[in-house]
Amino acid sequence: MSNQADLVWMIGGPQGSGINLAAETLTRCCMRGGLHVFANIEYHSNIKGEHSYYRLRIAKERRRSHLERVDLLVALDRETLVGDVHKSEVTHRGHLHEMAPGGAILFDSGNGPAPGDPSREDVRMFPVPFRDILLEALRMYGREGEVGKLQIMYNVIGLGASIGLLGYDQDLVTRVIAEGFKGRKAALADLNVAVFRRAAEYAMERFATSYPHRLSVLGGSGGRVMMRGIQAVGMAKILAGCGLQTYYPITPATDESDYLESRQGQFPTAVVQCEDEISAVLMAIGAAHAGVRASTSTSGPGFSLMAEGLGWAGITEAPGPVVILYQRGGPATGLPTRHEQADVRFALHAAHGEFPRIVVAPGDAEECFRTTFEAFNWAERYQCPVTVITDKYTASSYSTIPPFETSGLKIDRGVVFTPPKSGKDGFLRYKFTKNGISPRSRLGDRGGIFWTSGDEHNERGHIVESAENRVKMQTKRMTKLVTAAKEIPEGMMWTLHGPADAEVMVVGWGSTKGPILDAIEELETQGVAASFLQLRLLLPFPGDAVRKVLRKAKTHVMVEGNYGGQVRGLIREMTGVHVRRLVHKFDGRPFSQDEVREGILQQLKSARRPAVMSHA
């Protein structure tokens, strides 16, 4: 199946207009029909009114990234078509210009293009009378009077019109819609279904004949689930036994805490909203010392407040926390709801001084799950903070994937102390050992009384300023990283997708995994044989192994979602290999498959300067 056979559906409208629900319902419907979906969203840092859109790539096989083109667009407002022309400064051009030739647009005939707006000859424009359809459906329930309030159901009309146009199984969709209205909301199910049906019929009758694309059920879902990064992380935390999740609200991390909190009756993770991120990281550390697996999730601005706490966790050898860092557009508040991969150097070096820590970058939801689970093991085994660095793209994109394989996952709480039979004091919490790891007790353990300090300390944890103790204690601590580098399986450190001696080796980390994999598959069909070296463990960095792999490649191209090529620099620092060719992107949006492909081709042609991608 070529990319051309994929269907890219998009729904756009103001924040608060329910495009999420429409998109998620469609995803679920496709999944249930045996199709694969990759879905991503773009929205402003705003609650109501600014332009947002969801993009679904629907395919017969797994897809891991989005494409630039749109085949079918649902426009809930004029802005979706032509941009924010109502502002004193126009900041985007809408999506009309992104339409694939032969594509179609379903738009609200009450809120569509205005005279003089740009138009496209090669795109079919299907006006849908949203208000009339809603009114008709409401009339069935004698609720016409509520048409204003219930405009929120325009999203269902968009969904319905799409289904009608594409000829997809309406009964399946009806079931999915009905499932969505349970409990208190059950009364709304019928109304929504009615609206959906009307819209579907309307579109089918009027437009289907003049639009060739069809979407059909292939079979069952194959057990697949639709998974976002934050859900994958949340489930991993639950499975790993995370007992305390602290947080301070921040996009896009909050959703993960909400996820855990709403399940805390069933799976007891105490979710605590803190006064700030300083407190969030410190509470988690305090809990870790007391024997609870603890975590906090944030994005850049919050992480910036956690530096000092991380250093304290490092020197006191706290068995945690696990910090999930969801990168977003920076610096400062930056582009709060947008994507970037620009916090990585900071994550590696946050806090003054030197201490052991682990930084690991999963590439997609599945890796988020596995990595987060292991992060708790590492935090306890190596008694150090572990940062899982991911991003907005991973956090909020959906894809349909097989359910997680959990059988291989083992909980490892590291070396815990054995209470002395005598009950006597004298436990050495910071005992000098060869591998740097000292057995640990938990606050409250009998026979395990210890002291600890952010000041340099001796084996008992009391402050000592001597040079000799310092050298030994600092060496002991840092040795844990050497131990970790030996023990962590290579498969968690890096993955080479494809042959080492391919024509081009693409190098990336984190959420570029999806677009790179999709792009090299496409490149293959265009006669360019490429492999992909995915870096995962960034600290301790597997320098020797990575150098060896890189040396085997004929040409390298680095792909990174930041300005500076931060991991490219890290690779050079750690291996001496300079990946000269760079494809980067820092416009607040994730790489599409197309951008990666184009960028690679561009760099292969000329590496005089990096390729800056920004399909605006």
């Binding site: 998974m227 790993a240 305390l244 805390q264 006064e275 959990t406 606050l443 600890t452």
Partner: protein, 309 residues
């Protein structure tokens, strides 16, 4: 009841001779000894400052944290293990200066923990800059000029922030202090004990002699015991919102009072639901055992995955 020797450590104490911290340490040791709680169920957290060294001298779990950050770390430990007796200690700079944000938030949260603040009017360990408790216009010997910012009123601040037990004592009045600390620890909820503490090295205004009133005509101490004078700080009917307001107001008023002598004792006390109790209502596990003892092996994600199917 433990022997005093059992709650002491052999760690060399390097506070200045005559430092008021010694009195607070004594009181803490005595309180811990009397507490009838096994040593390993007690954890003392501190910030950074001269006062920050305190845990090293107490033979219980001792966690010497960061400047201004003892409270969140202590809170984390309490959340993790509700069976711990959690005491945080630290300086006035630590608690009311850099830590003021956590101070307010901790009061609001009402976890069951006790905070003992060493109020010496100066930043001791960094050599005598003014602490937030030093009154405007005053100048201690290491300051280049008098303070031009208002002092915080920790008592009023604590009451307004939501602390449910708010008291003050004097470091050299070890008996009163010990009793106050014990009451604070036994109080179910967040308790503040603000301790007036001479720093002979840097605070040449609020010396031992000053507090003893050596320079006053009647040579009476510069503090008096609120409770001895009949002040009633305790909310009798915890559900009576009106009484809570009245008692809070009375406490704030007392703390603002001013005058020749500083009131010590309990300013406000209210037994109301703690954070832990409320959390337990949502997480049945907590009613049974501490989070740290939860068994989480073999969890099954099937229902969670089913939501997404």
């Amino acid at each position: 009841m433990l022997k005093l020797e059992e709650v002491k450590t052999d760690v060399f104490n390097d506070w200045c001779p005559g430092c008021g911290d010694f009195g607070i340490l004594s009181a803490l040791q005595q309180a811990i000894a009397e507490l009838e709680v096994p040593r390993e169920k007690i954890a003392v957290f501190s910030g950074i400052g001269c006062s920050g060294k305190t845990p090293h001298f107490l033979n219980v779990y001792g966690i010497h944290t960061l400047h201004g950050r003892s409270l969140p770390i202590a809170a984390g430990a309490k959340l993790a293990n509700k069976d711990l007796t959690v005491i945080a200690v630290g300086g006035d700079g630590d608690g009311y200066g850099i830590g003021a944000g956590h101070f307010v938030a901790t009061g609001r949260r009402n976890l069951d923990l006790t905070y003992v603040v060493f109020n010496n009017g100066v930043y001791g360990l960094t050599k005598g800059q003014s602490a937030p408790t030093l009154a405007k216009g005053l100048r201690t010997k290491s300051m280049p000029a008098p303070a031009i910012v208002e002092a915080v009123n920790p008592i009023a601040l604590a009451i307004c922030a939501g602390f449910t037990f708010v008291a003050r004592s004097y470091s050299l009045s070890v008996k009163h202090l010990k009793a106050t600390i014990l009451a604070a620890i036994r109080h179910p909820g967040t308790a503040l004990v603000d301790v007036l503490q001479p720093c002979p090295t840097y605070n040449d205004l609020h010396t031992k002699e000053f507090w003893a009133g050596a320079d006053t005509p009647d040579k009476k101490p510069r503090w008096y015991d609120l409770q001895q004078e009949g002040f009633d700080a305790v909310v009798r009917d915890p559900e009576d919102g009106g009484e809570v307001v009245r008692k809070k107001t009375a406490g704030v008023m007392k703390s603002l009072e001013g005058g020749e002598r500083e009131p010590v004792g309990v300013f406000f006390e209210w037994k109301t639901a703690t954070y832990g109790e409320q959390l337990a209502a949502r997480m049945p596990l907590l009613a049974e055992k501490p989070l740290a003892e939860a068994d989480f092996s073999g969890r099954d994600l099937t229902p969670l995955l089913a939501e997404l199917a």
